[in-house]
Symmetry: C2
Subunit: 263 residues, 2 copies
Protein backbone atom coordinates (compact mmCIF):
# COMPACT_ATOMS: atom_id res chain seq x y z
CA UNK A 1 0.00 0.00 0.00
CA UNK A 2 1.21 3.44 -0.94
CA UNK A 3 1.60 5.82 1.96
CA UNK A 4 0.63 9.37 1.19
CA UNK A 5 -0.29 10.64 4.63
CA UNK A 6 2.44 13.27 4.43
CA UNK A 7 0.79 14.61 1.28
CA UNK A 8 -2.41 15.79 2.91
CA UNK A 9 -2.38 17.60 6.22
CA UNK A 10 -5.48 17.51 8.41
CA UNK A 11 -7.89 20.22 7.34
CA UNK A 12 -6.51 20.43 3.80
CA UNK A 13 -8.43 19.70 0.61
CA UNK A 14 -6.94 18.21 -2.55
CA UNK A 15 -8.91 18.53 -5.79
CA UNK A 16 -7.80 15.42 -7.64
CA UNK A 17 -8.24 14.41 -11.27
CA UNK A 18 -9.28 10.75 -11.48
CA UNK A 19 -8.63 10.53 -15.21
CA UNK A 20 -11.07 8.93 -17.66
CA UNK A 21 -11.95 5.89 -15.53
CA UNK A 22 -9.37 3.14 -15.92
CA UNK A 23 -7.51 2.97 -12.59
CA UNK A 24 -4.27 2.53 -14.54
CA UNK A 25 -4.80 6.04 -15.89
CA UNK A 26 -4.73 7.53 -12.39
CA UNK A 27 -1.54 9.41 -11.70
CA UNK A 28 0.82 8.06 -9.08
CA UNK A 29 0.07 11.15 -7.00
CA UNK A 30 -3.68 10.59 -7.18
CA UNK A 31 -3.14 7.03 -5.95
CA UNK A 32 -1.08 8.28 -3.01
CA UNK A 33 -3.60 10.98 -2.16
CA UNK A 34 -6.48 8.50 -2.18
CA UNK A 35 -4.53 6.22 0.13
CA UNK A 36 -3.95 9.12 2.53
CA UNK A 37 -7.47 10.52 2.44
CA UNK A 38 -9.90 10.26 5.35
CA UNK A 39 -12.85 11.56 3.34
CA UNK A 40 -13.34 11.34 -0.43
CA UNK A 41 -16.12 13.26 -2.20
CA UNK A 42 -16.57 11.79 -5.67
CA UNK A 43 -18.49 12.45 -8.87
CA UNK A 44 -20.73 10.22 -10.95
CA UNK A 45 -17.96 9.53 -13.46
CA UNK A 46 -15.64 8.07 -10.82
CA UNK A 47 -16.01 4.30 -10.51
CA UNK A 48 -15.35 1.65 -7.87
CA UNK A 49 -12.10 0.59 -9.56
CA UNK A 50 -10.71 4.00 -8.71
CA UNK A 51 -12.35 4.31 -5.30
CA UNK A 52 -10.73 1.06 -4.19
CA UNK A 53 -7.54 3.06 -3.64
CA UNK A 54 -9.35 4.99 -0.91
CA UNK A 55 -10.47 1.97 1.12
CA UNK A 56 -9.54 3.68 4.37
CA UNK A 57 -11.65 6.75 3.65
CA UNK A 58 -15.30 7.63 4.01
CA UNK A 59 -16.56 7.79 0.43
CA UNK A 60 -19.30 10.31 -0.26
CA UNK A 61 -21.09 10.49 -3.60
CA UNK A 62 -21.84 14.07 -4.66
CA UNK A 63 -22.44 13.48 -8.35
CA UNK A 64 -25.35 13.98 -10.65
CA UNK A 65 -26.79 11.01 -12.41
CA UNK A 66 -30.27 10.11 -13.61
CA UNK A 67 -32.39 8.78 -10.77
CA UNK A 68 -29.75 9.12 -8.10
CA UNK A 69 -28.76 11.58 -5.43
CA UNK A 70 -27.87 15.02 -6.66
CA UNK A 71 -25.87 17.58 -4.75
CA UNK A 72 -25.72 21.08 -6.17
CA UNK A 73 -22.49 23.07 -6.19
CA UNK A 74 -23.39 25.07 -3.10
CA UNK A 75 -24.07 21.90 -1.12
CA UNK A 76 -20.78 20.33 -2.32
CA UNK A 77 -18.89 23.43 -1.24
CA UNK A 78 -20.46 23.21 2.23
CA UNK A 79 -19.65 19.50 2.57
CA UNK A 80 -16.01 20.13 1.64
CA UNK A 81 -15.76 23.02 4.08
CA UNK A 82 -17.34 21.02 6.85
CA UNK A 83 -14.92 18.10 6.38
CA UNK A 84 -11.95 20.47 6.31
CA UNK A 85 -13.17 22.23 9.45
CA UNK A 86 -13.38 18.81 11.10
CA UNK A 87 -9.61 18.55 10.44
CA UNK A 88 -10.06 15.65 8.03
CA UNK A 89 -7.65 14.87 5.18
CA UNK A 90 -10.02 15.60 2.29
CA UNK A 91 -9.88 14.52 -1.36
CA UNK A 92 -12.35 15.91 -3.86
CA UNK A 93 -12.18 13.40 -6.72
CA UNK A 94 -13.27 14.54 -10.19
CA UNK A 95 -13.44 12.64 -13.46
CA UNK A 96 -10.72 13.59 -15.96
CA UNK A 97 -8.67 16.71 -15.26
CA UNK A 98 -10.03 19.16 -12.67
CA UNK A 99 -9.02 22.21 -14.73
CA UNK A 100 -11.10 21.23 -17.78
CA UNK A 101 -14.85 21.61 -17.13
CA UNK A 102 -14.31 20.42 -13.55
CA UNK A 103 -15.52 23.51 -11.66
CA UNK A 104 -12.31 23.25 -9.66
CA UNK A 105 -11.95 27.00 -9.43
CA UNK A 106 -15.38 27.45 -7.86
CA UNK A 107 -14.62 24.97 -5.10
CA UNK A 108 -11.07 26.20 -4.58
CA UNK A 109 -12.20 29.82 -4.35
CA UNK A 110 -14.97 29.01 -1.90
CA UNK A 111 -12.65 27.04 0.38
CA UNK A 112 -9.76 29.44 0.17
CA UNK A 113 -11.98 32.39 1.05
CA UNK A 114 -12.80 30.49 4.25
CA UNK A 115 -9.20 29.81 5.18
CA UNK A 116 -8.90 26.25 3.90
CA UNK A 117 -5.68 25.24 2.12
CA UNK A 118 -6.46 23.82 -1.32
CA UNK A 119 -4.20 21.92 -3.70
CA UNK A 120 -4.85 20.55 -7.17
CA UNK A 121 -3.61 17.30 -8.73
CA UNK A 122 -4.03 17.30 -12.53
CA UNK A 123 -5.33 14.27 -14.40
CA UNK A 124 -5.66 12.75 -17.87
CA UNK A 125 -8.58 14.38 -19.64
CA UNK A 126 -11.19 12.29 -21.50
CA UNK A 127 -10.42 13.55 -25.01
CA UNK A 128 -6.76 12.54 -24.67
CA UNK A 129 -7.80 9.08 -23.52
CA UNK A 130 -10.38 8.72 -26.32
CA UNK A 131 -7.93 9.39 -29.12
CA UNK A 132 -5.28 7.26 -27.41
CA UNK A 133 -7.67 4.29 -27.36
CA UNK A 134 -8.51 4.97 -30.99
CA UNK A 135 -4.90 5.28 -32.10
CA UNK A 136 -5.67 8.82 -33.17
CA UNK A 137 -4.60 12.26 -31.90
CA UNK A 138 -5.91 15.71 -31.05
CA UNK A 139 -3.30 17.52 -33.12
CA UNK A 140 -1.07 16.41 -35.97
CA UNK A 141 1.21 18.34 -38.31
CA UNK A 142 -0.56 19.26 -41.53
CA UNK A 143 -3.88 17.86 -40.29
CA UNK A 144 -4.84 19.70 -37.11
CA UNK A 145 -2.78 22.64 -35.92
CA UNK A 146 -4.63 23.14 -32.67
CA UNK A 147 -7.38 21.68 -30.51
CA UNK A 148 -10.28 23.37 -28.73
CA UNK A 149 -12.17 21.88 -25.78
CA UNK A 150 -15.82 22.92 -25.49
CA UNK A 151 -18.91 21.61 -23.71
CA UNK A 152 -22.09 20.45 -25.34
CA UNK A 153 -23.85 23.18 -23.44
CA UNK A 154 -21.89 25.76 -25.43
CA UNK A 155 -23.70 24.70 -28.57
CA UNK A 156 -27.09 25.33 -27.05
CA UNK A 157 -26.59 28.90 -25.94
CA UNK A 158 -26.95 31.74 -28.40
CA UNK A 159 -24.31 33.73 -26.59
CA UNK A 160 -21.80 30.97 -27.15
CA UNK A 161 -22.11 30.74 -30.88
CA UNK A 162 -19.15 33.04 -31.38
CA UNK A 163 -16.66 30.23 -31.32
CA UNK A 164 -18.71 28.16 -33.74
CA UNK A 165 -18.81 31.01 -36.22
CA UNK A 166 -15.06 31.20 -36.05
CA UNK A 167 -14.32 27.47 -35.85
CA UNK A 168 -11.74 26.33 -38.35
CA UNK A 169 -11.51 22.89 -39.98
CA UNK A 170 -7.83 22.65 -39.06
CA UNK A 171 -8.63 22.89 -35.34
CA UNK A 172 -9.80 19.68 -33.69
CA UNK A 173 -12.91 20.21 -31.55
CA UNK A 174 -13.37 18.08 -28.44
CA UNK A 175 -16.92 18.26 -27.07
CA UNK A 176 -17.38 17.29 -23.42
CA UNK A 177 -20.76 16.29 -22.02
CA UNK A 178 -21.90 16.40 -25.61
CA UNK A 179 -24.42 13.58 -25.87
CA UNK A 180 -27.47 15.80 -26.08
CA UNK A 181 -26.00 18.85 -27.72
CA UNK A 182 -23.52 17.36 -30.18
CA UNK A 183 -26.14 17.03 -32.96
CA UNK A 184 -27.06 20.72 -32.67
CA UNK A 185 -23.39 21.60 -32.64
CA UNK A 186 -22.86 19.48 -35.76
CA UNK A 187 -25.70 21.30 -37.53
CA UNK A 188 -24.26 24.65 -36.64
CA UNK A 189 -20.78 23.65 -37.81
CA UNK A 190 -22.19 22.44 -41.14
CA UNK A 191 -24.17 25.68 -41.48
CA UNK A 192 -20.92 27.51 -40.90
CA UNK A 193 -19.37 25.63 -43.83
CA UNK A 194 -17.86 22.49 -42.30
CA UNK A 195 -17.94 19.51 -44.65
CA UNK A 196 -20.76 17.12 -43.70
CA UNK A 197 -18.24 14.30 -44.01
CA UNK A 198 -15.84 15.81 -41.48
CA UNK A 199 -14.80 12.84 -39.35
CA UNK A 200 -15.90 12.55 -35.74
CA UNK A 201 -14.99 10.11 -33.02
CA UNK A 202 -17.55 9.38 -30.30
CA UNK A 203 -15.92 7.99 -27.17
CA UNK A 204 -18.27 6.30 -24.70
CA UNK A 205 -17.05 5.27 -21.24
CA UNK A 206 -13.53 5.75 -22.53
CA UNK A 207 -10.86 3.53 -20.95
CA UNK A 208 -13.44 1.48 -19.01
CA UNK A 209 -14.21 -2.19 -19.68
CA UNK A 210 -17.35 -1.19 -21.60
CA UNK A 211 -15.56 1.45 -23.68
CA UNK A 212 -17.01 2.03 -27.14
CA UNK A 213 -15.40 4.09 -29.85
CA UNK A 214 -17.72 5.08 -32.67
CA UNK A 215 -16.33 6.47 -35.88
CA UNK A 216 -18.78 8.72 -37.60
CA UNK A 217 -19.12 12.02 -39.46
CA UNK A 218 -20.66 15.39 -38.69
CA UNK A 219 -23.79 14.54 -40.69
CA UNK A 220 -24.27 11.23 -38.82
CA UNK A 221 -23.54 12.53 -35.36
CA UNK A 222 -27.22 12.67 -34.36
CA UNK A 223 -27.66 9.03 -35.22
CA UNK A 224 -24.43 8.09 -33.49
CA UNK A 225 -25.33 9.66 -30.16
CA UNK A 226 -29.07 8.87 -30.15
CA UNK A 227 -28.55 5.38 -28.75
CA UNK A 228 -26.50 6.51 -25.76
CA UNK A 229 -27.96 6.87 -22.28
CA UNK A 230 -27.69 9.59 -19.67
CA UNK A 231 -25.51 7.38 -17.53
CA UNK A 232 -22.74 7.07 -20.07
CA UNK A 233 -19.77 9.39 -20.22
CA UNK A 234 -19.51 10.75 -23.75
CA UNK A 235 -16.80 12.79 -25.44
CA UNK A 236 -17.04 13.70 -29.12
CA UNK A 237 -13.88 14.61 -31.03
CA UNK A 238 -14.43 16.34 -34.39
CA UNK A 239 -11.77 16.65 -37.08
CA UNK A 240 -9.43 14.62 -39.26
CA UNK A 241 -6.83 13.95 -36.56
CA UNK A 242 -9.47 12.05 -34.56
CA UNK A 243 -10.17 9.86 -37.57
CA UNK A 244 -6.61 9.25 -38.64
CA UNK A 245 -6.89 5.71 -37.37
CA UNK A 246 -8.49 4.80 -40.68
CA UNK A 247 -5.22 5.68 -42.32
CA UNK A 248 -2.78 4.73 -39.64
CA UNK A 249 -4.23 1.70 -37.93
CA UNK A 250 -6.06 -1.45 -38.84
CA UNK A 251 -6.09 -4.91 -37.39
CA UNK A 252 -3.18 -4.11 -35.11
CA UNK A 253 -5.59 -2.09 -33.02
CA UNK A 254 -8.45 -4.52 -32.70
CA UNK A 255 -6.92 -5.85 -29.51
CA UNK A 256 -7.14 -2.52 -27.76
CA UNK A 257 -10.19 -0.87 -29.27
CA UNK A 258 -13.50 -1.89 -30.67
CA UNK A 259 -15.20 -0.01 -33.48
CA UNK A 260 -18.94 -0.09 -33.82
CA UNK A 261 -20.16 1.62 -36.92
CA UNK A 262 -23.55 3.16 -36.37
CA UNK A 263 -25.61 3.86 -39.45
CA UNK B 1 8.67 -3.15 -8.51
CA UNK B 2 5.67 -3.10 -10.79
CA UNK B 3 5.53 -5.90 -13.32
CA UNK B 4 4.16 -4.86 -16.67
CA UNK B 5 5.77 -7.42 -18.96
CA UNK B 6 2.36 -8.68 -20.02
CA UNK B 7 1.52 -5.17 -21.19
CA UNK B 8 4.07 -5.02 -24.01
CA UNK B 9 4.61 -7.96 -26.30
CA UNK B 10 7.94 -8.33 -28.08
CA UNK B 11 7.91 -6.28 -31.28
CA UNK B 12 5.21 -3.89 -30.05
CA UNK B 13 5.61 -0.15 -29.57
CA UNK B 14 3.82 1.89 -26.90
CA UNK B 15 3.72 5.67 -27.33
CA UNK B 16 3.60 6.83 -23.72
CA UNK B 17 2.83 10.22 -22.22
CA UNK B 18 5.32 11.04 -19.48
CA UNK B 19 3.28 13.95 -18.15
CA UNK B 20 4.80 17.33 -17.32
CA UNK B 21 7.90 16.04 -15.54
CA UNK B 22 7.17 15.17 -11.91
CA UNK B 23 7.34 11.36 -11.68
CA UNK B 24 4.27 11.46 -9.42
CA UNK B 25 2.33 12.79 -12.41
CA UNK B 26 3.09 9.68 -14.45
CA UNK B 27 0.07 7.44 -14.81
CA UNK B 28 0.13 4.03 -13.17
CA UNK B 29 0.08 2.50 -16.67
CA UNK B 30 3.09 4.52 -17.80
CA UNK B 31 4.99 3.31 -14.74
CA UNK B 32 4.14 -0.31 -15.57
CA UNK B 33 5.07 0.12 -19.22
CA UNK B 34 8.43 1.64 -18.33
CA UNK B 35 9.13 -1.28 -15.99
CA UNK B 36 8.32 -3.71 -18.81
CA UNK B 37 10.24 -1.94 -21.57
CA UNK B 38 13.46 -3.25 -23.04
CA UNK B 39 14.14 -0.09 -25.02
CA UNK B 40 12.95 3.44 -24.22
CA UNK B 41 13.29 6.29 -26.72
CA UNK B 42 12.83 9.57 -24.87
CA UNK B 43 12.52 13.27 -25.60
CA UNK B 44 14.36 16.26 -24.18
CA UNK B 45 11.54 17.09 -21.80
CA UNK B 46 11.68 13.69 -20.08
CA UNK B 47 13.96 13.72 -17.04
CA UNK B 48 15.94 11.20 -15.03
CA UNK B 49 13.30 11.07 -12.31
CA UNK B 50 10.93 9.55 -14.83
CA UNK B 51 13.52 7.38 -16.58
CA UNK B 52 14.39 5.71 -13.27
CA UNK B 53 11.26 3.60 -13.74
CA UNK B 54 12.89 2.06 -16.82
CA UNK B 55 16.10 0.95 -15.14
CA UNK B 56 16.02 -2.37 -16.95
CA UNK B 57 15.75 -0.80 -20.39
CA UNK B 58 18.22 0.65 -22.85
CA UNK B 59 17.50 4.39 -22.75
CA UNK B 60 18.00 6.27 -25.99
CA UNK B 61 17.75 10.05 -26.21
CA UNK B 62 16.09 11.24 -29.40
CA UNK B 63 15.18 14.76 -28.32
CA UNK B 64 16.08 18.19 -29.53
CA UNK B 65 17.85 20.52 -27.20
CA UNK B 66 20.38 23.29 -27.61
CA UNK B 67 23.91 21.92 -27.95
CA UNK B 68 22.91 18.30 -27.71
CA UNK B 69 22.16 15.41 -30.01
CA UNK B 70 19.26 15.92 -32.36
CA UNK B 71 17.36 13.21 -34.19
CA UNK B 72 14.87 14.27 -36.86
CA UNK B 73 11.47 12.63 -37.17
CA UNK B 74 12.54 10.32 -40.00
CA UNK B 75 15.46 9.06 -37.97
CA UNK B 76 13.26 8.50 -34.91
CA UNK B 77 10.79 6.53 -37.01
CA UNK B 78 13.61 4.31 -38.28
CA UNK B 79 14.97 3.72 -34.78
CA UNK B 80 11.53 2.70 -33.50
CA UNK B 81 10.99 0.38 -36.45
CA UNK B 82 14.39 -1.19 -36.03
CA UNK B 83 13.81 -1.90 -32.33
CA UNK B 84 10.38 -3.38 -33.05
CA UNK B 85 11.82 -5.55 -35.82
CA UNK B 86 14.40 -6.78 -33.30
CA UNK B 87 11.42 -8.06 -31.27
CA UNK B 88 12.09 -5.67 -28.40
CA UNK B 89 9.44 -4.36 -26.03
CA UNK B 90 9.56 -0.71 -27.06
CA UNK B 91 8.38 2.43 -25.26
CA UNK B 92 8.43 5.80 -26.99
CA UNK B 93 8.28 8.26 -24.11
CA UNK B 94 7.00 11.77 -24.80
CA UNK B 95 6.61 14.77 -22.50
CA UNK B 96 3.01 15.55 -21.58
CA UNK B 97 0.24 13.84 -23.53
CA UNK B 98 1.19 12.18 -26.84
CA UNK B 99 -1.98 13.39 -28.57
CA UNK B 100 -1.30 17.09 -27.97
CA UNK B 101 1.61 18.37 -30.10
CA UNK B 102 3.39 15.05 -29.63
CA UNK B 103 3.61 13.90 -33.26
CA UNK B 104 2.22 10.58 -32.08
CA UNK B 105 0.19 10.09 -35.24
CA UNK B 106 3.23 10.41 -37.49
CA UNK B 107 5.11 7.72 -35.60
CA UNK B 108 2.06 5.47 -35.22
CA UNK B 109 1.22 5.71 -38.93
CA UNK B 110 4.79 5.00 -39.99
CA UNK B 111 5.04 1.93 -37.76
CA UNK B 112 1.59 0.60 -38.53
CA UNK B 113 2.19 0.85 -42.27
CA UNK B 114 5.16 -1.45 -41.69
CA UNK B 115 3.22 -4.03 -39.71
CA UNK B 116 4.17 -2.95 -36.19
CA UNK B 117 1.47 -2.99 -33.49
CA UNK B 118 1.25 0.43 -31.84
CA UNK B 119 -0.57 1.43 -28.65
CA UNK B 120 -0.94 4.80 -26.98
CA UNK B 121 -0.94 5.64 -23.26
CA UNK B 122 -2.30 9.15 -22.60
CA UNK B 123 -0.68 11.52 -20.13
CA UNK B 124 -1.21 14.74 -18.19
CA UNK B 125 -0.62 17.68 -20.49
CA UNK B 126 1.55 20.64 -19.43
CA UNK B 127 -1.21 23.28 -19.40
CA UNK B 128 -3.30 21.20 -16.98
CA UNK B 129 -0.30 20.83 -14.70
CA UNK B 130 0.57 24.53 -14.91
CA UNK B 131 -2.84 25.73 -13.79
CA UNK B 132 -3.00 22.99 -11.14
CA UNK B 133 0.27 24.23 -9.64
CA UNK B 134 -1.03 27.79 -9.80
CA UNK B 135 -4.37 26.95 -8.20
CA UNK B 136 -6.04 28.14 -11.38
CA UNK B 137 -7.98 26.41 -14.19
CA UNK B 138 -8.32 26.23 -17.95
CA UNK B 139 -12.10 26.67 -17.90
CA UNK B 140 -14.47 28.09 -15.31
CA UNK B 141 -18.16 28.96 -15.45
CA UNK B 142 -18.69 32.59 -16.31
CA UNK B 143 -14.97 33.18 -16.85
CA UNK B 144 -13.77 30.84 -19.60
CA UNK B 145 -16.25 28.68 -21.49
CA UNK B 146 -13.66 26.75 -23.48
CA UNK B 147 -9.93 26.30 -23.91
CA UNK B 148 -7.80 26.15 -27.04
CA UNK B 149 -4.35 24.56 -27.23
CA UNK B 150 -2.01 26.08 -29.83
CA UNK B 151 1.74 26.11 -30.45
CA UNK B 152 3.97 29.12 -30.47
CA UNK B 153 4.77 28.31 -34.06
CA UNK B 154 1.14 29.01 -34.97
CA UNK B 155 1.67 32.64 -34.17
CA UNK B 156 4.55 32.96 -36.58
CA UNK B 157 2.87 31.65 -39.70
CA UNK B 158 0.63 33.89 -41.76
CA UNK B 159 -1.53 30.95 -42.73
CA UNK B 160 -2.27 30.27 -39.08
CA UNK B 161 -3.58 33.69 -38.22
CA UNK B 162 -7.16 32.59 -38.82
CA UNK B 163 -7.62 31.36 -35.28
CA UNK B 164 -6.10 34.52 -33.84
CA UNK B 165 -8.53 36.67 -35.82
CA UNK B 166 -11.36 34.64 -34.36
CA UNK B 167 -9.96 34.23 -30.84
CA UNK B 168 -12.44 35.14 -28.14
CA UNK B 169 -11.63 36.53 -24.68
CA UNK B 170 -13.86 33.92 -23.05
CA UNK B 171 -11.72 31.08 -24.44
CA UNK B 172 -8.54 30.33 -22.53
CA UNK B 173 -5.52 29.99 -24.85
CA UNK B 174 -2.74 27.58 -23.88
CA UNK B 175 0.42 28.14 -25.92
CA UNK B 176 2.86 25.23 -26.07
CA UNK B 177 6.50 25.73 -27.01
CA UNK B 178 5.70 29.41 -26.80
CA UNK B 179 8.86 30.97 -25.43
CA UNK B 180 9.96 32.60 -28.68
CA UNK B 181 6.62 33.18 -30.32
CA UNK B 182 4.40 34.15 -27.38
CA UNK B 183 5.32 37.84 -27.66
CA UNK B 184 4.28 37.94 -31.33
CA UNK B 185 1.11 36.07 -30.47
CA UNK B 186 0.40 38.58 -27.70
CA UNK B 187 0.85 41.49 -30.14
CA UNK B 188 -1.52 39.89 -32.60
CA UNK B 189 -4.14 39.21 -29.93
CA UNK B 190 -3.94 42.84 -28.76
CA UNK B 191 -4.21 44.02 -32.38
CA UNK B 192 -7.30 41.86 -32.66
CA UNK B 193 -8.81 43.69 -29.69
CA UNK B 194 -7.72 41.72 -26.63
CA UNK B 195 -7.23 43.88 -23.55
CA UNK B 196 -3.52 44.52 -22.95
CA UNK B 197 -4.13 43.64 -19.33
CA UNK B 198 -5.55 40.20 -20.13
CA UNK B 199 -3.92 37.93 -17.55
CA UNK B 200 -1.36 35.34 -18.60
CA UNK B 201 0.38 32.59 -16.67
CA UNK B 202 3.86 31.52 -17.78
CA UNK B 203 4.72 28.04 -16.54
CA UNK B 204 8.39 27.10 -16.65
CA UNK B 205 9.52 23.52 -15.99
CA UNK B 206 6.07 22.89 -14.57
CA UNK B 207 5.86 20.28 -11.78
CA UNK B 208 9.66 19.92 -11.59
CA UNK B 209 11.76 21.00 -8.59
CA UNK B 210 12.78 24.19 -10.45
CA UNK B 211 9.21 25.03 -11.48
CA UNK B 212 8.48 28.72 -11.85
CA UNK B 213 5.06 30.23 -12.33
CA UNK B 214 5.06 33.79 -13.59
CA UNK B 215 1.93 35.87 -13.47
CA UNK B 216 1.87 38.49 -16.13
CA UNK B 217 -0.33 40.17 -18.74
CA UNK B 218 -0.51 40.14 -22.53
CA UNK B 219 1.35 43.46 -22.74
CA UNK B 220 4.18 42.20 -20.49
CA UNK B 221 4.54 38.77 -22.07
CA UNK B 222 7.64 39.73 -24.06
CA UNK B 223 9.40 40.84 -20.91
CA UNK B 224 8.22 37.76 -19.02
CA UNK B 225 9.60 35.25 -21.51
CA UNK B 226 12.78 37.10 -22.48
CA UNK B 227 14.76 35.75 -19.54
CA UNK B 228 13.97 32.09 -20.26
CA UNK B 229 16.43 29.77 -21.97
CA UNK B 230 16.03 27.30 -24.82
CA UNK B 231 16.44 24.42 -22.40
CA UNK B 232 13.39 25.28 -20.33
CA UNK B 233 9.95 23.87 -21.00
CA UNK B 234 7.53 26.77 -21.27
CA UNK B 235 3.75 26.82 -21.47
CA UNK B 236 1.84 30.11 -21.56
CA UNK B 237 -1.81 30.19 -20.52
CA UNK B 238 -3.74 33.33 -21.52
CA UNK B 239 -7.08 34.33 -20.03
CA UNK B 240 -8.78 35.15 -16.73
CA UNK B 241 -9.19 31.52 -15.60
CA UNK B 242 -5.41 31.16 -15.56
CA UNK B 243 -5.14 34.17 -13.30
CA UNK B 244 -7.97 33.33 -10.96
CA UNK B 245 -5.43 32.50 -8.27
CA UNK B 246 -5.28 36.19 -7.53
CA UNK B 247 -8.89 35.99 -6.45
CA UNK B 248 -9.09 32.49 -5.12
CA UNK B 249 -5.75 31.81 -3.48
CA UNK B 250 -3.27 33.60 -1.37
CA UNK B 251 -0.79 32.53 1.27
CA UNK B 252 -2.30 29.06 1.43
CA UNK B 253 -0.66 28.35 -1.89
CA UNK B 254 2.85 29.55 -1.19
CA UNK B 255 3.83 26.07 -0.11
CA UNK B 256 3.09 24.57 -3.50
CA UNK B 257 3.87 27.35 -5.91
CA UNK B 258 6.28 30.20 -6.16
CA UNK B 259 5.40 33.41 -7.92
CA UNK B 260 8.10 35.55 -9.44
CA UNK B 261 6.84 38.80 -10.79
CA UNK B 262 8.88 39.88 -13.77
CA UNK B 263 8.80 43.53 -14.68
Amino acid sequence: LVNGSDLIRPGEVWLVGAGPGDPDLLTRRAEKLLAAAEVVFYDALVGQDVLQFARGAAQIFVGKRAGRHFADQGRINQLLLSAANDRKRVVRLKGGDPSIFGRSLEEAAFLHARGVAVHICPGVTAASAAVASAGAALTSRGIARSVQFVTGRCAGEESDDDWIRSASPDTTIAVYMGRKDAPELASKLMARGFDALTPALVGVNVSLPDERLLRTTLQSLTLSTACLSDDEAVVVVIGPAAAATSIAHGPAFTATCEWRLVS
